[in-house]
Point group: C2
DNA sequence: ATTACTATTCTACGAGTAT
DNA sequence: TATACTCGTAGAATAGTAA
Protein backbone atom coordinates (compact mmCIF):
# COMPACT_ATOMS: atom_id res chain seq x y z
CA UNK A 1 0.00 0.00 0.00
CA UNK A 2 2.11 2.83 -1.26
CA UNK A 3 -0.45 5.58 -1.30
CA UNK A 4 -0.98 7.49 1.87
CA UNK A 5 -4.69 7.73 2.38
CA UNK A 6 -6.36 10.75 3.79
CA UNK A 7 -6.59 10.28 7.52
CA UNK A 8 -9.05 12.69 9.09
CA UNK A 9 -8.34 12.53 12.76
CA UNK A 10 -11.75 13.67 13.97
CA UNK A 11 -12.41 10.32 15.54
CA UNK A 12 -9.13 9.58 17.16
CA UNK A 13 -10.02 6.15 18.30
CA UNK A 14 -8.18 3.59 20.26
CA UNK A 15 -8.33 1.35 17.24
CA UNK A 16 -5.17 -0.18 15.86
CA UNK A 17 -3.55 1.34 12.78
CA UNK A 18 -6.47 0.06 10.80
CA UNK A 19 -4.96 -3.01 9.20
CA UNK A 20 -5.77 -3.31 5.55
CA UNK A 21 -9.43 -3.71 4.74
CA UNK A 22 -9.78 -6.15 1.89
CA UNK A 23 -11.73 -5.29 -1.24
CA UNK A 24 -14.22 -7.97 -0.26
CA UNK A 25 -14.85 -6.28 3.05
CA UNK A 26 -15.14 -2.89 1.41
CA UNK A 27 -17.73 -4.27 -0.93
CA UNK A 28 -19.69 -5.63 2.01
CA UNK A 29 -19.43 -2.35 3.84
CA UNK A 30 -20.60 -0.51 0.75
CA UNK A 31 -23.69 -2.67 0.45
CA UNK A 32 -24.62 -2.04 4.05
CA UNK A 33 -24.08 1.68 3.54
CA UNK A 34 -26.28 1.70 0.46
CA UNK A 35 -29.11 0.39 2.58
CA UNK A 36 -28.66 3.22 5.03
CA UNK A 37 -26.24 1.60 7.45
CA UNK A 38 -24.45 4.85 8.09
CA UNK A 39 -27.46 6.69 9.43
CA UNK A 40 -29.58 3.90 10.81
CA UNK A 41 -29.44 0.28 11.75
CA UNK A 42 -30.11 -2.01 8.85
CA UNK A 43 -32.04 -5.25 9.17
CA UNK A 44 -30.32 -7.77 7.04
CA UNK A 45 -30.20 -11.50 7.44
CA UNK A 46 -27.26 -13.41 6.13
CA UNK A 47 -29.16 -14.87 3.18
CA UNK A 48 -30.25 -11.49 1.92
CA UNK A 49 -26.77 -10.21 2.45
CA UNK A 50 -25.47 -13.21 0.56
CA UNK A 51 -27.44 -12.33 -2.55
CA UNK A 52 -26.32 -8.72 -2.38
CA UNK A 53 -22.75 -9.95 -2.34
CA UNK A 54 -23.38 -12.73 -4.84
CA UNK A 55 -22.11 -15.35 -2.46
CA UNK A 56 -23.41 -17.99 -0.08
CA UNK A 57 -25.20 -17.49 3.21
CA UNK A 58 -22.23 -18.95 5.04
CA UNK A 59 -19.77 -16.61 3.44
CA UNK A 60 -22.04 -13.63 4.05
CA UNK A 61 -22.30 -14.63 7.68
CA UNK A 62 -18.58 -14.97 7.96
CA UNK A 63 -18.07 -11.60 6.26
CA UNK A 64 -20.25 -9.91 8.85
CA UNK A 65 -18.21 -11.55 11.58
CA UNK A 66 -15.03 -10.19 10.00
CA UNK A 67 -16.45 -6.69 9.82
CA UNK A 68 -17.56 -6.82 13.41
CA UNK A 69 -14.21 -8.26 14.44
CA UNK A 70 -12.42 -5.37 12.78
CA UNK A 71 -14.69 -2.85 14.38
CA UNK A 72 -16.16 -1.62 11.12
CA UNK A 73 -19.69 -2.75 11.85
CA UNK A 74 -21.72 -3.04 15.01
CA UNK A 75 -24.30 -5.74 15.34
CA UNK A 76 -27.43 -6.40 17.32
CA UNK A 77 -28.26 -10.04 17.05
CA UNK A 78 -32.00 -10.03 17.41
CA UNK A 79 -34.22 -13.07 17.34
CA UNK A 80 -35.41 -12.49 13.81
CA UNK A 81 -32.93 -10.53 11.76
CA UNK A 82 -29.66 -9.11 12.86
CA UNK A 83 -29.35 -5.36 12.78
CA UNK A 84 -26.18 -3.85 11.42
CA UNK A 85 -24.80 -0.37 11.74
CA UNK A 86 -21.58 1.02 10.40
CA UNK A 87 -19.19 2.29 13.06
CA UNK A 88 -17.16 5.49 12.86
CA UNK A 89 -14.18 3.39 11.76
CA UNK A 90 -16.26 1.78 9.05
CA UNK A 91 -17.33 5.22 7.94
CA UNK A 92 -13.70 6.26 7.60
CA UNK A 93 -13.06 3.33 5.31
CA UNK A 94 -15.99 4.33 3.15
CA UNK A 95 -14.94 7.96 3.09
CA UNK A 96 -11.46 6.99 1.96
CA UNK A 97 -12.93 4.89 -0.79
CA UNK A 98 -15.23 7.69 -1.80
CA UNK A 99 -12.32 10.11 -1.84
CA UNK A 100 -10.44 7.81 -4.19
CA UNK A 101 -13.30 7.81 -6.64
CA UNK A 102 -13.66 11.56 -6.27
CA UNK A 103 -10.06 11.92 -7.30
CA UNK A 104 -10.55 9.69 -10.27
CA UNK A 105 -13.45 11.77 -11.50
CA UNK A 106 -12.12 14.89 -9.93
CA UNK A 107 -14.06 18.05 -10.44
CA UNK A 108 -11.56 19.92 -8.38
CA UNK A 109 -8.70 19.94 -10.76
CA UNK A 110 -5.84 18.67 -8.69
CA UNK A 111 -3.20 16.06 -9.30
CA UNK A 112 -1.92 14.53 -6.10
CA UNK A 113 1.71 13.46 -6.25
CA UNK A 114 3.61 11.68 -3.55
CA UNK A 115 7.35 11.31 -3.53
CA UNK A 116 10.47 11.82 -1.52
CA UNK A 117 12.83 14.70 -1.05
CA UNK A 118 16.06 14.36 -3.00
CA UNK A 119 19.10 16.53 -3.03
CA UNK A 120 20.11 17.83 -6.40
CA UNK A 121 23.63 18.95 -7.12
CA UNK A 122 22.91 22.50 -6.15
CA UNK A 123 21.92 23.64 -9.62
CA UNK A 124 18.55 24.66 -8.28
CA UNK A 125 20.10 27.54 -6.46
CA UNK A 126 22.12 28.55 -9.51
CA UNK A 127 19.12 28.53 -11.79
CA UNK A 128 16.72 30.22 -9.45
CA UNK A 129 19.21 33.02 -8.94
CA UNK A 130 19.03 33.93 -12.60
CA UNK A 131 17.21 37.17 -13.06
CA UNK A 132 15.60 35.84 -16.24
CA UNK A 133 13.78 33.17 -14.21
CA UNK A 134 13.13 35.28 -11.15
CA UNK A 135 11.37 38.03 -13.07
CA UNK A 136 9.20 35.61 -14.98
CA UNK A 137 8.17 33.72 -11.87
CA UNK A 138 7.33 36.94 -10.09
CA UNK A 139 5.23 38.08 -13.01
CA UNK A 140 3.54 34.82 -13.93
CA UNK A 141 3.32 32.93 -10.67
CA UNK A 142 2.87 35.83 -8.32
CA UNK A 143 5.78 35.26 -5.99
CA UNK A 144 9.50 35.80 -5.84
CA UNK A 145 11.13 32.39 -5.76
CA UNK A 146 13.53 31.49 -3.01
CA UNK A 147 16.84 30.84 -4.76
CA UNK A 148 16.76 27.08 -4.76
CA UNK A 149 14.51 24.21 -5.66
CA UNK A 150 13.19 21.27 -3.76
CA UNK A 151 13.64 18.09 -5.76
CA UNK A 152 10.89 15.55 -5.32
CA UNK A 153 11.45 12.10 -6.70
CA UNK A 154 8.23 10.36 -7.52
CA UNK A 155 8.18 6.81 -6.39
CA UNK A 156 7.45 4.11 -8.90
CA UNK A 157 3.97 4.24 -10.36
CA UNK A 158 3.44 7.85 -9.33
CA UNK A 159 5.56 8.83 -12.29
CA UNK A 160 2.59 8.09 -14.51
CA UNK A 161 0.79 11.07 -13.09
CA UNK A 162 3.30 13.37 -14.72
CA UNK A 163 1.61 12.52 -17.98
CA UNK A 164 -1.60 13.92 -16.61
CA UNK A 165 0.23 17.08 -15.70
CA UNK A 166 1.92 17.50 -19.03
CA UNK A 167 -1.39 17.13 -20.79
CA UNK A 168 -2.69 20.22 -19.03
CA UNK A 169 -1.98 23.86 -19.78
CA UNK A 170 0.92 25.17 -17.77
CA UNK A 171 2.39 28.52 -17.03
CA UNK A 172 5.08 28.89 -19.65
CA UNK A 173 8.41 30.24 -18.46
CA UNK A 174 10.34 31.27 -21.54
CA UNK A 175 13.94 30.48 -22.35
CA UNK A 176 16.36 33.37 -22.12
CA UNK A 177 19.99 34.18 -22.65
CA UNK A 178 22.71 35.79 -20.61
CA UNK A 179 26.12 36.73 -21.80
CA UNK A 180 27.43 33.34 -20.75
CA UNK A 181 24.79 30.90 -21.81
CA UNK A 182 21.23 30.00 -22.65
CA UNK A 183 18.67 28.94 -20.07
CA UNK A 184 15.89 26.66 -21.27
CA UNK A 185 12.21 27.23 -20.83
CA UNK A 186 10.20 25.40 -18.21
CA UNK A 187 6.55 24.62 -17.57
CA UNK A 188 5.11 25.48 -14.21
CA UNK A 189 1.88 24.67 -12.39
CA UNK A 190 0.67 26.30 -9.22
CA UNK A 191 0.76 23.82 -6.38
CA UNK A 192 0.74 23.30 -2.65
CA UNK A 193 3.13 21.30 -0.56
CA UNK A 194 2.05 20.66 3.01
CA UNK A 195 -0.33 23.56 2.60
CA UNK A 196 2.29 26.04 1.41
CA UNK A 197 1.82 27.73 -1.92
CA UNK A 198 4.48 26.75 -4.41
CA UNK A 199 4.96 25.83 -8.02
CA UNK A 200 5.78 22.48 -9.57
CA UNK A 201 8.10 22.85 -12.52
CA UNK A 202 9.35 20.64 -15.29
CA UNK A 203 11.88 21.63 -17.94
CA UNK A 204 10.38 21.67 -21.41
CA UNK A 205 10.62 18.38 -23.26
CA UNK A 206 11.75 16.29 -20.32
CA UNK A 207 10.10 13.01 -20.99
CA UNK A 208 11.49 10.34 -18.78
CA UNK A 209 12.23 12.04 -15.53
CA UNK A 210 10.93 10.86 -12.21
CA UNK A 211 11.90 14.06 -10.48
CA UNK A 212 9.77 17.16 -10.29
CA UNK A 213 11.12 20.41 -8.89
CA UNK A 214 9.31 22.63 -6.49
CA UNK A 215 9.90 26.33 -6.08
CA UNK A 216 8.36 28.52 -3.46
CA UNK A 217 8.67 31.98 -1.94
CA UNK A 218 10.38 30.41 1.05
CA UNK A 219 13.05 27.85 1.78
CA UNK A 220 10.87 24.78 2.00
CA UNK A 221 13.52 22.52 3.40
CA UNK A 222 13.83 24.60 6.52
CA UNK A 223 10.27 25.87 6.90
CA UNK A 224 8.92 22.33 6.54
CA UNK A 225 11.92 20.73 8.25
CA UNK A 226 12.51 18.43 5.35
CA UNK A 227 15.44 16.09 5.08
CA UNK A 228 16.49 13.90 2.21
CA UNK A 229 14.21 10.91 1.72
CA UNK A 230 11.38 12.52 3.65
CA UNK A 231 8.04 11.72 2.04
CA UNK A 232 6.07 14.69 0.74
CA UNK A 233 2.72 15.24 -0.85
CA UNK A 234 2.38 17.69 -3.65
CA UNK A 235 -0.99 18.92 -4.85
CA UNK A 236 -0.70 20.40 -8.27
CA UNK A 237 -3.50 22.57 -9.61
CA UNK A 238 -4.45 22.06 -13.21
CA UNK A 239 -7.13 23.77 -15.25
CA UNK A 240 -8.40 23.45 -18.77
CA UNK B 1 -15.12 -11.95 -26.58
CA UNK B 2 -12.43 -9.37 -27.06
CA UNK B 3 -14.35 -7.42 -29.66
CA UNK B 4 -13.95 -3.92 -28.36
CA UNK B 5 -16.92 -2.09 -29.75
CA UNK B 6 -16.51 1.65 -29.76
CA UNK B 7 -19.41 3.13 -27.87
CA UNK B 8 -19.81 6.76 -28.86
CA UNK B 9 -23.18 7.41 -27.33
CA UNK B 10 -23.23 8.02 -23.62
CA UNK B 11 -26.85 7.13 -23.28
CA UNK B 12 -26.59 3.94 -25.25
CA UNK B 13 -25.42 1.81 -22.40
CA UNK B 14 -22.94 -0.97 -22.69
CA UNK B 15 -25.36 -3.68 -23.63
CA UNK B 16 -22.62 -6.20 -22.96
CA UNK B 17 -23.62 -9.02 -20.64
CA UNK B 18 -20.83 -7.60 -18.51
CA UNK B 19 -20.41 -10.54 -16.23
CA UNK B 20 -19.94 -9.49 -12.66
CA UNK B 21 -16.74 -7.65 -11.96
CA UNK B 22 -15.31 -8.91 -8.71
CA UNK B 23 -14.30 -6.55 -5.92
CA UNK B 24 -10.71 -7.60 -6.50
CA UNK B 25 -10.91 -6.52 -10.10
CA UNK B 26 -12.60 -3.27 -9.17
CA UNK B 27 -9.79 -2.53 -6.77
CA UNK B 28 -7.26 -3.15 -9.52
CA UNK B 29 -9.15 -0.91 -11.94
CA UNK B 30 -9.32 1.78 -9.32
CA UNK B 31 -5.58 1.74 -8.78
CA UNK B 32 -4.95 2.07 -12.49
CA UNK B 33 -7.42 4.91 -12.68
CA UNK B 34 -5.76 6.73 -9.79
CA UNK B 35 -2.56 6.77 -11.80
CA UNK B 36 -4.31 8.36 -14.72
CA UNK B 37 -5.33 5.25 -16.62
CA UNK B 38 -8.56 6.83 -17.78
CA UNK B 39 -6.93 9.69 -19.65
CA UNK B 40 -3.59 8.25 -20.59
CA UNK B 41 -1.69 5.04 -20.78
CA UNK B 42 -0.07 4.09 -17.54
CA UNK B 43 3.31 2.42 -17.30
CA UNK B 44 3.11 -0.16 -14.61
CA UNK B 45 5.06 -3.34 -14.25
CA UNK B 46 3.55 -6.23 -12.43
CA UNK B 47 5.75 -5.82 -9.35
CA UNK B 48 4.75 -2.21 -8.86
CA UNK B 49 1.17 -3.18 -9.42
CA UNK B 50 1.58 -5.97 -6.91
CA UNK B 51 2.57 -3.58 -4.17
CA UNK B 52 -0.32 -1.26 -4.99
CA UNK B 53 -2.64 -4.23 -4.57
CA UNK B 54 -0.75 -5.65 -1.61
CA UNK B 55 -0.27 -8.96 -3.33
CA UNK B 56 2.41 -10.87 -5.23
CA UNK B 57 3.84 -10.12 -8.64
CA UNK B 58 2.26 -13.27 -10.03
CA UNK B 59 -1.17 -12.39 -8.79
CA UNK B 60 -0.85 -8.86 -10.07
CA UNK B 61 0.12 -10.22 -13.45
CA UNK B 62 -2.84 -12.57 -13.47
CA UNK B 63 -5.16 -9.78 -12.44
CA UNK B 64 -4.09 -7.71 -15.42
CA UNK B 65 -4.75 -10.69 -17.64
CA UNK B 66 -8.25 -10.98 -16.20
CA UNK B 67 -8.96 -7.32 -16.77
CA UNK B 68 -7.73 -7.51 -20.35
CA UNK B 69 -9.71 -10.68 -20.88
CA UNK B 70 -12.87 -8.96 -19.71
CA UNK B 71 -12.25 -5.97 -21.89
CA UNK B 72 -11.85 -3.56 -19.01
CA UNK B 73 -8.23 -2.71 -19.71
CA UNK B 74 -6.18 -2.48 -22.87
CA UNK B 75 -2.56 -3.36 -22.81
CA UNK B 76 0.55 -2.62 -24.81
CA UNK B 77 3.19 -5.10 -23.83
CA UNK B 78 6.39 -3.17 -24.43
CA UNK B 79 9.84 -4.49 -23.87
CA UNK B 80 10.30 -2.76 -20.56
CA UNK B 81 7.06 -1.98 -18.81
CA UNK B 82 3.61 -2.78 -20.00
CA UNK B 83 1.34 0.16 -20.66
CA UNK B 84 -2.22 -0.03 -19.45
CA UNK B 85 -5.24 2.02 -20.36
CA UNK B 86 -8.76 1.69 -19.13
CA UNK B 87 -11.31 0.92 -21.84
CA UNK B 88 -14.77 2.50 -22.14
CA UNK B 89 -16.20 -0.62 -20.50
CA UNK B 90 -13.75 -0.29 -17.65
CA UNK B 91 -14.74 3.32 -17.28
CA UNK B 92 -18.37 2.27 -16.95
CA UNK B 93 -17.46 -0.02 -14.08
CA UNK B 94 -15.65 2.80 -12.32
CA UNK B 95 -18.50 5.23 -12.90
CA UNK B 96 -20.96 2.79 -11.40
CA UNK B 97 -18.77 2.38 -8.39
CA UNK B 98 -18.38 6.11 -8.04
CA UNK B 99 -22.14 6.55 -8.30
CA UNK B 100 -22.63 4.07 -5.47
CA UNK B 101 -20.37 6.10 -3.19
CA UNK B 102 -22.07 9.31 -4.26
CA UNK B 103 -25.36 7.81 -3.14
CA UNK B 104 -23.91 6.73 0.15
CA UNK B 105 -22.76 10.22 0.93
CA UNK B 106 -25.96 11.73 -0.41
CA UNK B 107 -24.57 14.43 -2.53
CA UNK B 108 -27.64 13.62 -4.47
CA UNK B 109 -30.57 14.11 -2.15
CA UNK B 110 -32.41 11.12 -3.42
CA UNK B 111 -33.31 7.75 -2.01
CA UNK B 112 -33.43 5.14 -4.73
CA UNK B 113 -35.92 2.39 -4.11
CA UNK B 114 -36.42 -0.65 -6.25
CA UNK B 115 -39.38 -2.96 -5.98
CA UNK B 116 -42.17 -4.61 -7.86
CA UNK B 117 -45.66 -3.57 -8.77
CA UNK B 118 -48.31 -5.18 -6.60
CA UNK B 119 -52.05 -4.98 -6.82
CA UNK B 120 -53.75 -3.74 -3.74
CA UNK B 121 -57.34 -4.57 -3.04
CA UNK B 122 -58.58 -1.49 -4.77
CA UNK B 123 -58.54 0.70 -1.68
CA UNK B 124 -56.21 3.07 -3.39
CA UNK B 125 -58.92 4.24 -5.68
CA UNK B 126 -61.33 4.62 -2.76
CA UNK B 127 -58.92 6.68 -0.71
CA UNK B 128 -57.65 8.85 -3.49
CA UNK B 129 -61.19 9.74 -4.42
CA UNK B 130 -61.75 11.34 -1.05
CA UNK B 131 -61.95 15.06 -1.36
CA UNK B 132 -60.05 15.46 1.90
CA UNK B 133 -57.00 13.84 0.36
CA UNK B 134 -57.38 15.29 -3.13
CA UNK B 135 -57.47 18.87 -1.92
CA UNK B 136 -54.46 18.44 0.31
CA UNK B 137 -52.41 16.80 -2.40
CA UNK B 138 -53.31 19.53 -4.85
CA UNK B 139 -52.31 22.20 -2.37
CA UNK B 140 -49.22 20.60 -0.91
CA UNK B 141 -47.82 18.47 -3.73
CA UNK B 142 -48.85 20.63 -6.66
CA UNK B 143 -50.88 18.11 -8.61
CA UNK B 144 -54.28 16.54 -8.64
CA UNK B 145 -53.88 12.85 -7.92
CA UNK B 146 -55.26 10.28 -10.27
CA UNK B 147 -57.81 8.34 -8.21
CA UNK B 148 -55.75 5.28 -7.46
CA UNK B 149 -52.38 4.31 -6.11
CA UNK B 150 -49.60 2.19 -7.45
CA UNK B 151 -48.40 -0.24 -4.83
CA UNK B 152 -44.70 -0.96 -4.89
CA UNK B 153 -43.44 -3.81 -2.79
CA UNK B 154 -39.83 -3.35 -1.83
CA UNK B 155 -37.81 -6.46 -2.19
CA UNK B 156 -35.90 -7.76 0.78
CA UNK B 157 -33.16 -5.48 2.01
CA UNK B 158 -34.58 -2.46 0.19
CA UNK B 159 -37.08 -2.19 3.01
CA UNK B 160 -34.30 -0.75 5.16
CA UNK B 161 -34.27 2.36 3.03
CA UNK B 162 -37.72 3.27 4.29
CA UNK B 163 -36.02 4.15 7.53
CA UNK B 164 -33.96 6.72 5.71
CA UNK B 165 -37.11 8.13 4.24
CA UNK B 166 -38.96 8.30 7.51
CA UNK B 167 -36.06 10.15 9.08
CA UNK B 168 -36.46 12.98 6.59
CA UNK B 169 -39.00 15.79 6.60
CA UNK B 170 -42.07 14.85 4.62
CA UNK B 171 -45.07 16.68 3.32
CA UNK B 172 -47.68 16.09 5.98
CA UNK B 173 -51.13 15.17 4.76
CA UNK B 174 -53.50 15.63 7.70
CA UNK B 175 -56.14 13.24 8.87
CA UNK B 176 -59.70 14.28 8.22
CA UNK B 177 -63.21 13.10 8.82
CA UNK B 178 -66.25 12.53 6.63
CA UNK B 179 -69.72 11.75 7.83
CA UNK B 180 -68.99 8.05 7.58
CA UNK B 181 -65.49 7.66 8.95
CA UNK B 182 -62.07 9.01 9.73
CA UNK B 183 -59.19 8.96 7.28
CA UNK B 184 -55.71 8.84 8.73
CA UNK B 185 -52.89 11.17 7.95
CA UNK B 186 -50.05 10.20 5.65
CA UNK B 187 -46.55 11.35 4.92
CA UNK B 188 -45.58 12.13 1.36
CA UNK B 189 -42.32 12.81 -0.46
CA UNK B 190 -41.97 14.15 -3.98
CA UNK B 191 -40.59 11.45 -6.23
CA UNK B 192 -40.10 10.25 -9.77
CA UNK B 193 -40.94 6.91 -11.23
CA UNK B 194 -39.50 6.20 -14.67
CA UNK B 195 -39.02 9.92 -15.01
CA UNK B 196 -42.64 10.83 -14.18
CA UNK B 197 -43.31 13.17 -11.32
CA UNK B 198 -45.17 11.47 -8.52
CA UNK B 199 -45.30 11.20 -4.76
CA UNK B 200 -44.30 8.34 -2.52
CA UNK B 201 -46.62 8.01 0.45
CA UNK B 202 -46.66 6.12 3.70
CA UNK B 203 -49.47 6.14 6.24
CA UNK B 204 -48.44 7.66 9.54
CA UNK B 205 -47.02 5.25 12.05
CA UNK B 206 -46.69 2.32 9.68
CA UNK B 207 -43.60 0.61 10.92
CA UNK B 208 -43.25 -2.78 9.38
CA UNK B 209 -44.59 -2.44 5.90
CA UNK B 210 -42.66 -3.41 2.83
CA UNK B 211 -45.08 -1.64 0.52
CA UNK B 212 -44.91 2.00 -0.45
CA UNK B 213 -47.69 3.66 -2.40
CA UNK B 214 -47.21 5.96 -5.32
CA UNK B 215 -49.64 8.58 -6.44
CA UNK B 216 -49.35 10.68 -9.55
CA UNK B 217 -51.35 13.05 -11.73
CA UNK B 218 -51.80 10.22 -14.21
CA UNK B 219 -52.68 6.55 -14.24
CA UNK B 220 -49.18 5.14 -13.96
CA UNK B 221 -50.15 1.57 -14.69
CA UNK B 222 -51.32 2.49 -18.14
CA UNK B 223 -48.97 5.32 -19.00
CA UNK B 224 -45.98 3.22 -18.01
CA UNK B 225 -47.55 -0.06 -19.17
CA UNK B 226 -47.00 -1.65 -15.81
CA UNK B 227 -48.25 -5.08 -14.89
CA UNK B 228 -48.14 -6.85 -11.58
CA UNK B 229 -44.65 -7.99 -10.60
CA UNK B 230 -43.00 -5.57 -13.00
CA UNK B 231 -39.85 -4.12 -11.47
CA UNK B 232 -39.85 -0.39 -10.93
CA UNK B 233 -37.40 2.17 -9.71
CA UNK B 234 -38.57 4.96 -7.51
CA UNK B 235 -36.44 8.00 -6.84
CA UNK B 236 -37.65 9.80 -3.78
CA UNK B 237 -36.49 13.33 -3.14
CA UNK B 238 -35.52 14.17 0.40
CA UNK B 239 -34.27 17.41 1.83
CA UNK B 240 -33.24 18.61 5.22
C1' DA C 1 15.34 -6.65 -16.69
C1' DT C 2 10.35 -8.12 -17.85
C1' DT C 3 5.80 -11.38 -18.08
C1' DA C 4 3.57 -15.46 -17.03
C1' DC C 5 3.80 -20.59 -17.09
C1' DT C 6 3.51 -24.83 -14.00
C1' DA C 7 3.52 -26.85 -9.57
C1' DT C 8 2.49 -26.38 -4.95
C1' DT C 9 0.53 -24.32 -0.90
C1' DC C 10 -3.14 -22.70 1.47
C1' DT C 11 -6.90 -19.62 1.86
C1' DA C 12 -11.48 -19.08 1.75
C1' DC C 13 -15.81 -20.98 -0.03
C1' DG C 14 -19.91 -23.62 0.69
C1' DA C 15 -22.27 -28.24 2.16
C1' DG C 16 -23.92 -30.15 6.02
C1' DT C 17 -25.53 -29.33 10.22
C1' DA C 18 -25.61 -27.83 15.29
C1' DT C 19 -27.57 -24.36 17.87
C1' DT D 1 -37.10 -19.64 11.45
C1' DA D 2 -32.24 -17.53 12.29
C1' DT D 3 -26.59 -17.65 12.78
C1' DA D 4 -22.44 -19.89 12.40
C1' DC D 5 -19.75 -24.09 13.38
C1' DT D 6 -16.69 -27.97 11.19
C1' DC D 7 -14.55 -29.65 7.43
C1' DG D 8 -13.60 -31.33 2.63
C1' DT D 9 -12.33 -29.16 -1.28
C1' DA D 10 -12.08 -25.75 -5.30
C1' DG D 11 -9.69 -22.32 -6.73
C1' DA D 12 -6.79 -18.43 -5.67
C1' DA D 13 -2.17 -17.04 -4.40
C1' DT D 14 2.62 -17.90 -4.41
C1' DA D 15 7.29 -20.18 -5.45
C1' DG D 16 10.14 -21.46 -8.73
C1' DT D 17 11.39 -20.64 -13.29
C1' DA D 18 11.00 -20.43 -18.34
C1' DA D 19 10.78 -17.40 -22.02
Amino acid sequence: MATTQEMPSETLRASRPSDPVSPLEKEALKQIALLGGIMEQVELNSSEFASLLATSQQTASRRILELVEEGLVERDLGVRKQRLKITPQGLEVLKAEHAAYQRIFELSETVHLTGRVRSGVGEGQYYMSQDGYVRQFRAKMGFTPYPGTLNVELSGPEVNKLRLLKARPAVVIERFQTEERTFGGVHAWPARISGRACAAILPNRTHYTRVIEVIAPEHLRSSLSLKDDDPVELEVEVRD
